[in-house]
């Protein structure tokens, strides 16, 4: 026995017949438990993770639906009963068979935490390793309360050890662990899953098929899941999560878990023509992440239910995105020409690349509403903008001129303004909506013309601040250009001489223009 310390722990206990299972009797007990002990916070994705694992095993793994038992939100006694029952079914069979047990939920060193009840870890291990199945796989993706990162939020709790050592004589048993001792398994809100289960499911969908033979073996799946889990968690608050595994294959070939290259009911294939890191969303960019593919060479494939998918390819400094329809028993190419390169600022906001800042220059033309009765002004401006992940900043220099005839004087007012915007950007389809605040100051120069031969007042210069709310819409154009439109509501504060102290005047500003990103 060996204790493996882990705040959250994942374990795979494999008792495997080593040959690839041609048509074995395949069974799975998939357990998901968002609720653990009373004092433990409710998990968000444990049960949905279980559903995803069950789904991919049914769809691509050759598991008959009646042989996949999904146990969500159940107590320890019910889980124990289900495992014993399945073992009884396996004992009644002849020939090779495979039993997979997957658990996602709370746990500690001694037991799984199932809706306020405990299933001792030793008992679980015995139920699996003692199974009559010729291949036995135990997957534990368990987190102790308080150690969930959120990425998983929560307060870090002391790490704990879990005994995942193979029992003596358990030939052909392999043990896989998503996290090394002392580490925490982590969930991701963005993925809507735990990092490890997400990577594992992606691997089973085809991302793990590194030799492109159409099948994903246990080794391939684990290798892929390990690499992607480590990569995905390397920049989280909690830190990198290192999946580990132990197995005793007894000299047999690796176990095939799924066959994404084969034809399956209602399933088609996305084929990736270039190497790279791809994220596949169901439906649209806002849809759930269904798979992730990290391919070092061309030819990666993922088997998916027929439907529409949104694919993002991540490069160090940019993203490429496209929509693809997957049809049953057909292959859809994820080719460069079908993807659009994402504008730089969006890349920064979206994250996932090494670029964390983007800049642009812009020029606008438009109007500024009347201020202090001085007439509507035509204006133009130039500016620069910096886009960061959470906020965008813009510095703008504007020039405006207005004229008004008040019956006594023709007043020409020229304005030079310098402002700073703090913006929050929202990417909505092809458009980007920015809302934020602007502060600045304006210098006014006024000239007076008296239509009568009387003496006109001498020219004046004035200076005052302004503040307001600004909204912008941007539309990407080819060659790094983008069109922009803006509407702002502003308050100017100035000495006018008509009243003591500062006077203020509300007004608006509207304009359209062009920008170029760099």
């Amino acid at each position: 026995m060996k204790l493996v310390r882990a705040a959250c722990l994942f374990g795979v206990l494999l008792a495997a017949s080593s040959t690839a299972l041609a048509e074995p009797n395949r069974f799975a007990v998939i357990i998901g438990a968002n609720a653990g002990d009373a004092e433990e916070p409710t998990l968000r994705f444990a049960e949905s993770d279980a559903d995803r694992v069950a789904g991919v095993l049914r769809t691509l793994g050759g598991f008959q639906p009646e042989n996949v038992v999904t146990l969500n939100d159940l107590r320890a006694a019910e889980v124990r009963r289900a495992l014993i029952s399945l073992n009884a079914r396996v004992r009644a069979l002849s020939g090779d068979s495979l039993m997979v047990v997957y658990y996602s939920g709370h746990a500690d060193a001694d037991a799984l935490h199932l809706a306020g009840t405990h299933l001792p870890m030793a008992e679980l291990r015995d139920l699996v390793t003692g199974s009559a199945a010729s291949a036995r796989v135990l997957v534990l993706d368990a987190c102790r309360s308080g150690t969930i990162t959120r990425v998983k939020g929560g307060t870090r709790a002391p790490a704990f050890d879990i005994d995942l050592a193979l029992p003596v004589g358990a030939e052909g048993v392999a043990m896989l662990s998503s996290s090394a001792a002392g580490e925490s398994s982590q969930e991701s809100d963005a993925l809507g899953a735990s990092f490890f289960t997400h990577a594992l499911v992606s691997a089973l969908l085809g991302a793990g098929d590194t030799n492109h033979d159409g099948s994903v073996t246990l080794g391939e799946a684990f290798a892929y899941a390990k690499e992607r889990t480590l990569a995905s968690t390397s920049r989280t608050v909690v830190g990198p999560q290192h999946p580990t595994f132990r197995l005793d294959l007894g000299g047999r070939e690796d176990l095939i878990l799924t066959r994404p290259g084969a034809e399956h009911r209602n399933v088609g294939t996305l084929a990736f023509t270039r190497p790279g890191l791809y994220v596949v969303h169901k439906g649209s960019q806002e849809g759930p992440v269904v798979a992730e593919l990290a391919a070092d060479d061309a030819g990666g494939r993922i088997a998916l239910d027929a439907g529409r998918y949104f694919v993002t390819r991540r490069e160090p400094d940019h993203l490429e995105q496209g929509r693809f329809d997957v049809a049953v028993h057909s292959t859809t190419l994820v080719a460069p020409e079908a993807m659009a390169r994402l504008e730089y600022a969006r890349v920064v906001r979206k994250g996932g690349t090494t670029r964390n800042i983007a800049g642009s220059l812009f020029a606008d033309g438009g109007v500024r509403g009347e201020v202090f009765g001085l007439g509507t002004a035509w204006r133009t401006e130039v500016g620069g903008r910096v886009d960061l992940r959470q906020v965008s900043l813009a510095l703008r220099l504007g020039f405006a001129q207005s004229g008004v005839d008040n019956g006594r004087l023709d007043i020409t007012t020229r304005e030079v303004s310098l402002g700073v915007d703090g913006l929050r950007a929202f990417d909505l389809g092809p458009l980007t909506l920015d809302v934020g605040l602007e502060v600045g100051a304006s210098w006014f120069a006024q000239a007076f013309h008296d239509p009568t031969p009387a003496l006109a007042p001498t020219s004046r210069t004035s200076f005052g601040p302004f503040v307001g709310a600004v909204g912008q819409i941007e539309l990407p154009l080819p060659h790094r250009f983008y069109a922009r439109a803006e509407l702002a509501g502003l308050f100017y504060f100035l000495h006018t001489g008509t009243s003591p102290g500062m006077s203020y005047a509300p007004t608006y500003r509207a304009g359209i223009g062009l920008g170029v990103a760099f």
Partner: protein
Amino acid sequence: MKRTLVVCLLSLTAACDPLATGSFRPAYLTINGVIDGSTAVEMPPKVHVALLWQNDSTPGSNYGQQFVDVLPQFPAAFSVDVNLPPNSQVVDRLQPSMALGIGVDPAMSWASGTLVVYADENENGKLDMVGPNDPPSPDRVLGATTDLDVWALMSGKPAAADLVGIFPVANGFSLVYEPPRRDPEPGECGGFDANGHRSDLCPTVFAQPSPQDPSTLVEHLTLADDPTLRGFSCNTYWGQGEYPDWLQTNGHDVCDGGVCRFCQGYQCPLDLPQSPSDWVKCSDDKLSYVYKHCKPDSSLCGTIICHFGHGELQASDPVPAGWPCP
């Protein structure tokens, strides 16, 4: 760096003027005055002073602006900031040929006005003007300046100083004192020569008007219950007093055939009094006379229009029929 920025901003602010708003209208001219008292039967709780722009050559154009409230607690000081130019309807100009003949800038245009004090009976904040055929204005005029004109040169160059009181003689806005008029004396209106009768213009006689310094002038007004003041709320009114009839004509009418309203120039018929009630003044030697025939002109809101006639004889001339100086 931070300190430098603050200093720069403070410098900018300190060097700045107040922003002129859209309602920035510095006064062209400020007229200070005092309402000394009132003989008006009924005084409103508040009276208003207005600048009444008048144009004799464009009927119906008179209007008031620059309204100032004054409490009728006499003597009541007031101050009118004239910060709006007159409307184009009251702006006058000469025909170029006439301007050149007089010796003024053909581009010159101007307006003139006077101050009135009125009761805003309908409380609409302005002096309601009516036409000559309309019912009387709801507002009641209580007083008006008779010896002070406001002149506004709207374009061109001002006229020569000796034309003060007739044309603007200063740039912008100015004040001109207009002394009281008097009737002409016999012999002041020309006479006859060998070519026959001569009838020159013979208006009321003006003393020389004089420009006034607005900064020192205090115009005095007395309010009265005078029905003739009602004319100031009528848009064709010329003003109180008597105005010569030739002002109603355009240019110099020469009517040697005797068919004009009045004759000016040579070969005119003898200008005899038109009615026994006409005012007539003869010279001591009975060889010359002046007369005036006055009547209110309803088309000018009751403005008194007078024909100032005159005649002269040589001592050797026979006395013509109808000669008013027996």
